[in-house]
Amino acid sequence: MAMTLNEEQRHLRDTAREFLLARAPVAALRALRDDRDPLGWSRELWAEMAGLGWAGIVIPEEFGGLEFGFTGLGAVLQETGRTLTASPLYATCVLGTSAILLAGDQKQKQAVLPRVAAGETCLALALEESHHHDPLGVRLRAERHGDGYRLNGAKQFVLDGHSADLLVVVARTAGEPGSGQGISLFLVDAAAPGVARRRTATMDSRNVARIEFQDVEVPVTALLGAEGESWPVLEQVLDRGRAAIAAEMLGGAQECFQRTVAYLKQREQFGVAIGSFQALQHRAAAMFIELELLQSVVMDACAKVDEASPLLPMVASLAKARANDTIELVSNEAVQMHGGIGITDQLDIGLFLKRARVTMQILGDARYHRARYATLRGF
């Protein structure tokens, strides 16, 4: 049980806040967008973040990481949510790293993780194949071919898919879409023949890709875990991803809210601060309540990862569902309470709204997670 940060973790969070405000504030995302940067993130910044140890924050020391745990990583992601910082932190250090940590063998970990921790290799998880989160709906085929496998199919909504060096591809080696049997994970070189990547332009100006796999041949050593048996481990990877993205969303929602409350105190109409109107006060108080509840469930979800708790699936769904509902509420109210300026590109609030809408689609929306929570509770 850890519902609060310890001293080390608080120090990490404070360092992250200071660093991000100085080196990667919201203006940095704006610049990447306005310059139509082909990468969508800054290699210099990522090198600095890796220098702070963030690239290896959950990687064990034996593979060159900090072994700081998900509570620490969550605290950093919360800060990147506040500054809308674009970086490989989520796709590489949460999704890709977790897949290799949980499914890979010693040799695979040794080959990849030290390079990830050093900031030299970026990863992406190629999972989704339709416009709604559906991890069991995998159709991409991996067939035995000679000494290895041959992959055919297409993925979409692959976070950092256009820039990653290695792809963790969720494939089907047996069974039909909808079944957990026959799901396998492969580690695929993004530059391998037959891999075609296209960056997708999403409203948050961040980095998502469609990837086609046409007769992509991989050796048997590319298989992460046992053939056809990877559904349970994939679920663990996804639950870590849900807890972590909820942490980023918490930070984004908190920042959006604090900027809005500051505006309520500053903006005057009818000769008084609009924050003195009870109609707005109660709506602001309602958001405060939602944010407090969200903070509790995010803290618990990250702690449950660190404790390897069997309750993680339930709390991860709780956190992601709540994060979705709360950030939708807060981003909408933020725009409305800012009035006319709230719908301009000039004000940052719109950038928070747009990032919110993308994160809401990552690894399941609120309906998906309420239904999953109900299933896990037995109703």
């Binding site: 924050g275 469930v297 109900a374």
Partner: protein, 397 residues
């Protein structure tokens, strides 16, 4: 730390040896012992349990020994509470004297008042009720009009108090009264203790929408109250009242889930009244509504843990606790609306053999939950408090 561990072991052993098995289950309202001049115990075991706890000072464990307590520090009191919860022990004594007036007297009362009233509360000899709200002073409590006029060695009190919980079974009442009508609202209010056996005090129960009469209206008609019953400074009773309200809100947020002892949980309710297929509620909207409720309770529970942990480690802003009264009571209302929706026309029974006890209980409790977000500061007042204290928004309230 070692001393605390030793204390825990002793407490556990003593409770196991001394708490009768019949007192280790949740107490129904009839089984709770509230004390007072006319109180009776529900059973011989209840009396034994009360007397054993009293002998150790554990009816009010944190109060000093000279006033009937055990003088436990905060950590020791938490250990005792935890061990009682672990074993399922009932509280030996209930009442506003234990929860609210006692702590206020310890903070604001003079020595004479502490000696007169605290042991009587600790020993369950007198039962107290609270006189705050008036027919024309609810959320705007400071506009209260019950007057106490100075007549030399005593006050003469006139007016009435409403929502005085169980005043018809109480011996004494602690009241807010106006002692200076020329002063600005909060400034002319005093905190007064009144023996309800005094001539001129009368009580009328108020029948509620659920058929029960938990609350009363209490009338004061030229009631003589000795001056020594004034707590704190004349015209500064608001300070005492604010301290007391904090205790009440804390209590309500802590006990929101036990205020109503439900006949069945929402999940049990779903299993009984809704069709399932493949282990799932068939109706996706009902299923989603139940998931929303269960997830809200889960989040509230985790937030309670976070508040405790932040208090223990000295982290956090302290503002989080401001949300708990609102969250707890609002969700309790939603829970009962959800159960009524699941039960359909079996959820609207009032009495008679067409409904079983759980059905009638649920319907009546559903009606009673409407009181939770009104009593002890309405939900709207809670939002005002959050806006003012946590968000520091400007305003008149």
């Amino acid at each position: 730390m070692e001393d605390l561990e030793q204390f825990r072991i002793e407490v556990r052993q003593w409770l196991e040896a001394n708490c009768p098995p019949s007192q280790r289950t949740p107490a129904s309202p009839e089984e709770q012992y509230w004390g007072g001049r006319n109180a009776t115990f529900a059973s011989g075991d209840a009396r034994v349990w009360f007397e054993r706890m009293l002998a150790r000072g554990w009816t009010v464990p944190e109060w000093p020994r000279e006033y009937g307590g055990a003088g436990l520090n905060g950590q020791q009191a938490r250990i005792l509470k935890k061990e009682m919860v672990r074993l399922g022990c009932r509280a030996p004594l209930y009442g506003l004297g234990v929860w609210m007036l006692g702590p206020a007297l310890l903070e604001f009362g003079n020595e004479e008042q502490k000696r007169e009233h605290l042991p009587a509360i600790a020993e369950g000899r007198l039962r107290w009720c609270q006189g705050y709200s008036e027919p024309n002073a609810g959320s705007d409590l400071a506009s209260l009009q019950t007057r106490a006029e100075d007549h030399g060695d005593h006050f003469v009190v006139n007016g009435s108090k409403i929502w005085t919980s169980q005043a018809d079974r109480s011996d004494w009442i602690f009241c807010l009264v106006r002692t200076d009508s020329s002063a600005r609202k909060q400034a002319g209010i005093s905190f007064l203790l009144i023996d309800m056996a005094t001539p001129g005090v009368s009580v009328t129960p108020i029948k509620l929408i659920n058929g029960s009469s938990e609350f009363c209206q209490t009338f004061f008609d030229n009631v003589r109250v000795p001056k020594q019953n004034l707590v704190g400074v004349l015209n500064e009773g608001w300070t005492v009242a604010k301290g007391l309200l904090r205790h009440e809100r804390k209590l309500m947020s802590e006990t929101a889930d036990t205020v109503t002892t439900a006949a069945h949980t929402p999940i049990e309710c779903a299993r009984r009244y809704l069709p399932f297929a493949d282990g799932r509620i068939q109706d996706p909207l009902m299923r989603d509504a139940l998931a929303r409720h269960e997830m809200q309770m889960h989040a509230i529970g985790l937030t309670q843990l976070r508040i405790l942990e932040e208090a223990r480690t000295g982290t956090g802003s302290g503002a989080t606790s401001l949300i708990m009264k609102y969250c707890g009571t609002e969700e309790e209302k939603r829970k009962y609306e959800l159960m009524m929706a699941m039960m359909g026309s079996q959820g609207i029974g009032w009495e008679g053999e067409d409904f079983d006890a759980a059905e009638i209980d649920t319907a009546r409790q559903a009606l009673f939950t409407k009181a939770l977000s009104i009593a002890g500061g309405t939900s709207e007042v809670q939002l005002n408090i959050i806006a003012k204290r946590a968000l520091e928004l400007p305003g008149v309230i």
